[in-house]
């Protein structure tokens, strides 16, 4: 035992030097938050749940005008009627989601130990449907977006609390893959997520100011003025990847789920405030 420890002590610096970028998820998150604290000293941590409106004052006023009576309210209504529907076997969504009355959104995505993969809320909804003899909703479709909007609404004010268990190597691998995705440059424009939403947060890309990576998952799904409809986080990922001129991945693909896992973990401690309204 002792010899192993000594050997480890001798080689540890070498190992660390080789793996300089490695840190555990909690350390990653601390650094992530610290970066924005340094970058925008006047913006409080909680404000990042408001996305770009934490940074851009003029845009914030317009957003607040829209939030007076936000267009996503129709989606919440539709989501509520879907939520209240009974499956053929008499069960409801609340049979699948424990404590659903007070909201469950803050716990997703989760690592599913049985299946060995990251499960998003959208996936969990469809698994619930399938378990009770229903067909799954189309990803990115109206019904799933509405139901997600309602579930986000139910979860408003809850604190994001995604867990990455260090002792499950598969969960760690999924987290690491998401992290690698976030920092990897891709596409013809050679941008990583981090290039825009960490290094350049608050700056302009053409006419748009870039939002901070911290807080990105808090408010989805969002009603986008641009499309005049609801958009999921994965649809937003899809749009970003396409915008850097890389071939996007499918909604709910392993790549996007792992990215969501990493990104949502980074936002642990922020409040769920979805559904939201964005430009």
């Amino acid at each position: 035992m002792i010899k192993q420890i000594i050997a480890c002590v001798i080689f540890l610096p070498t190992l660390l030097a080789n793996q300089a970028a490695y840190a555990g998820p909690p350390e990653d998150r601390e650094s992530f938050v610290a970066f924005f604290k340094t970058r925008f000293p006047d913006i409080s941590f909680a404000e990042y749940a408001n996305g770009i409106y934490a940074i851009d004052q003029d845009a914030r006023e317009q957003w607040q005008e829209i939030e007076v009576f936000p267009p996503y309210e129709f989606s919440i209504d539709q989501g509520k009627s879907l939520w209240d529907e009974k499956f053929a076997d008499g069960k409801t969504y609340s049979d699948c989601f424990k404590d659903s009355e007070s909201g469950v959104k803050q716990l997703f995505p989760k690592f599913d130990k049985h299946k060995g993969e990251v499960v998003t809320l959208a996936m969990a909804i469809n698994r619930c449907r399938e378990k009770h003899g229903q067909t799954g909703f189309e990803y990115g479709g109206d019904q799933l977006l509405s139901l997600s909007a309602y579930m986000a609404f139910q979860s408003r004010g809850n604190t994001i609390n995604v867990t990455v268990t260090k002792d499950d190597p598969r969960a760690m691998a999924a987290y690491e893959e998401g992290k690698q995705f976030y920092y990897t440059k891709r596409g013809q424009l050679n941008f990583s997520c981090a290039d825009c939403h960490i290094s350049s947060a608050g700056q302009y890309v053409r006419a748009d100011r870039l939002s901070a990576g911290l807080g990105h998952p808090t408010h989805f799904p969002v009603y986008r003025s641009k499309s005049g409809g609801m958009v999921s986080l994965h649809q937003r990922f899809y749009g970003c990847v396409r915008d850097v001129r890389a071939k996007p991945f499918e909604l709910q693909s392993r790549e996007f789920r792992n990215l969501e896992y990493f990104l949502t973990y980074m936002s642990n401690g922020l409040e769920v405030n979805g559904p939201g309204a964005r430009k």
């Binding site: 829209i66 007076v68 009576f69 267009p71 309210e73 129709f74 209504d77 009627s81 005049g228």
Partner: protein, 104 residues
Amino acid sequence: MASTIKISAKLKGQVANIKSLMLHPMETGSRINPDSGETIAAHHITQLIFTNNGKEVMVANFSTAVSKNPYFGFSFEGAKAGDTVKVKWIDNKGATAELETQLG
């Protein structure tokens, strides 16, 4: 199908503050369907009429330049608890929808 109108009515003294949201595409008639190359026909709300206990309190005339899923807010005096505020929209294809709410 749930209502295509949402309304929020708040009474403050004798002033009723009305906010409303309509589910409507508000097509301008100048957009082109990228798949077919055809122009998408105009489809928009033309009038939004508010009454309080049957008395007209607001007529909003909309062009296609009002945003998709239109929002409209206004206030009127002489309101009291229990009054019935009704909103009705008419679009250029002749479709209508209406919703009532009680001031309280």
